[in-house]
Symmetry: C2
Subunit: 147 residues, 2 copies
């Protein structure tokens, strides 16, 4: 029998880890109309915001490295959602931008956040506070990982 502090339920990281996966699963049916995976949806979210961004910047926004991004972006390029091209200013950099198809997808996506939050069934106040704690935690942990 494990000591109290080693119990699974008391591991905050486990709850985050499991919740992240469960929430991603909740997105799956909502993303069918876009025909994208959850990480791809995140890429689109960023591109709808920026329209054009380097792989490096995308990685910074999503806390993902090029090992993950490159194959994913390639698949999205193949699917007609985005373009990838070398920057003329710095040939090491690859710029990602939306195709018309990718831009159009935003319309279909506009209800998704509401649908998701609705399924959470959380009070507004709790949601705001929870989001704040999450944001702070993410920044703090990311910073720790940078050290």
């Amino acid at each position: 029998m494990a000591e109290e502090h080693l119990k699974l339920e008391n591991q905050i990281c486990f709850s985050i880890y499991a919740a992240a996966r469960e929430m991603t699963k909740l997105y799956k049916p909502l993303l069918e109309k876009l025909d994208v995976t959850y990480p791809q949806y995140l890429v689109l979210l960023v591109l709808w915001e920026e329209e054009s961004i380097t792989v490096k910047e995308m990685g910074q926004r999503l806390y993902l490295d090029s090992g993950t991004l490159t194959p994913m972006l390639k698949r999205m390029e193949t699917a007609g959602l985005l373009y990838r091209h070398r920057s003329p200013k710095d040939e090491r950099s690859v710029i990602i931008s939306l195709t018309d198809q990718g831009k159009e997808a935003e319309k279909e996506a506009s209800t998704i956040p509401f649908q998701l939050v609705e399924q959470l069934g959380m009070e507004e106040e709790e949601l705001v506070q929870f989001k704040a704690s999450l944001g702070k935690t993410l920044e703090r942990v990311h910073q720790k990982n940078q050290e």
Copy 2:
């Protein structure tokens, strides 16, 4: 430019998703002495609690399916941490139990949760509340996924 509700920063799931990955990364150096990955560490946490459990139950505890568990448990068996054997009572079931090595590993693991929480730098009160929201969210989302 994306509408406000489609901005990345406003997606609660993104924060959870990113925080989960960043926290898992924070565990990596702490888990070196055990020579296990984070998901493997979770398996050990459960086994230190239960000592013996079926693959099905393990999956229920960790919200993982056998597609993920079977290869992971095989690797852990190979590493000498646990045994896997068919249940005599129901030959479809596989029981997982700790080896002596697996049991011993608990001692080395006992400081890890403290080390992790220390790195979070969170106030006790905030941590308690955060954990509560996480727990509730996990249950709610899991339930939604069961429907």
